[in-house]
Amino acid sequence: MFSSPLETLLTISLFIISVATLGLVYRVIKGPSVPDRVMALDSIGINLIAITAIMSIMLNTDAFLEVILLIGVIAFIGTVAFSKFLQKGEIIEYDRDN
């Protein structure tokens, strides 16, 4: 079924990460409070990075390495923006001293 032990290992880890992502999707839908959902979405982003890395090994290409860094940056900025909205009610304030 699989051509090499490495491919077997990668498929198994892809399956495990998919199950973990499904668990996080459950938390996004069910999560009683908004911070639960934000944390779950952030973790989905991290899992997406892992899936991209595994897929780039499976496809034997290095064209997706920028995507990995890109998802990391976007997930971080998105989470920071959402946390600031939850904390202060506005994302970009005019003058933080008053």
């Binding site: 920028e66 890109l70 976007i74 920071v80 970009i92 005019y94 933080r96």
Partner: protein, 140 residues
């Protein structure tokens, strides 16, 4: 209640430089590998957005005292001028050329006029994205 954002602000001062360097890398890598002016511009604006998130609009305008609409207009002008420049060499509009140049540190490098066109795209993307975000953030 006064909030102390020390961790966020310290991380931002370090991380915004890393994102800016990554965006410059993406901009120059666009010719042979994935990347280019569009995604490079988006990464630059996301670094600027991170500064906007950690600090405020007043501080941001003190760090970058430029009108981002001017940036977008300059980028559009650069892109059009690289197209027009081809007309002076008796070739159709937007014809691009490239040559191998011996640079001091980098050695033999392929320089293309497409890079200047891409610089225009980069400036337009940064200018438009930052104008949108600043305008939305300003309104009360």
């Amino acid at each position: 209640m006064k909030v102390n954002d020390m961790i966020l602000q310290t991380v931002t001062t370090l991380l915004s430089f890393i994102i800016l360097i990554f965006s410059v890398y993406l901009f120059f890598a666009g010719h042979y590998t994935p990347g280019g002016g569009f995604i490079g511009g988006l990464m630059t604006s996301s670094a600027l957005v991170l500064i906007l998130l950690a600090f405020d609009l007043k501080t941001f305008k003190k760090i970058f005292p430029i009108n981002f609409l001017t940036v977008a207009a300059t980028g559009l002008l650069i892109s059009i001028l690289t197209g027009v420049a081809a007309l002076f060499f008796d070739v159709p509009y937007l014809t691009h050329t490239f040559d191998y140049v011996e640079l001091p540190i980098l050695g033999e490098t392929a320089l293309t006029s497409t890079l200047i066109f891409d610089l225009g795209v980069y400036l337009v993307v940064v200018g438009v994205a930052m104008t949108i975000i600043q305008t939305i953030g300003e309104s009360e």
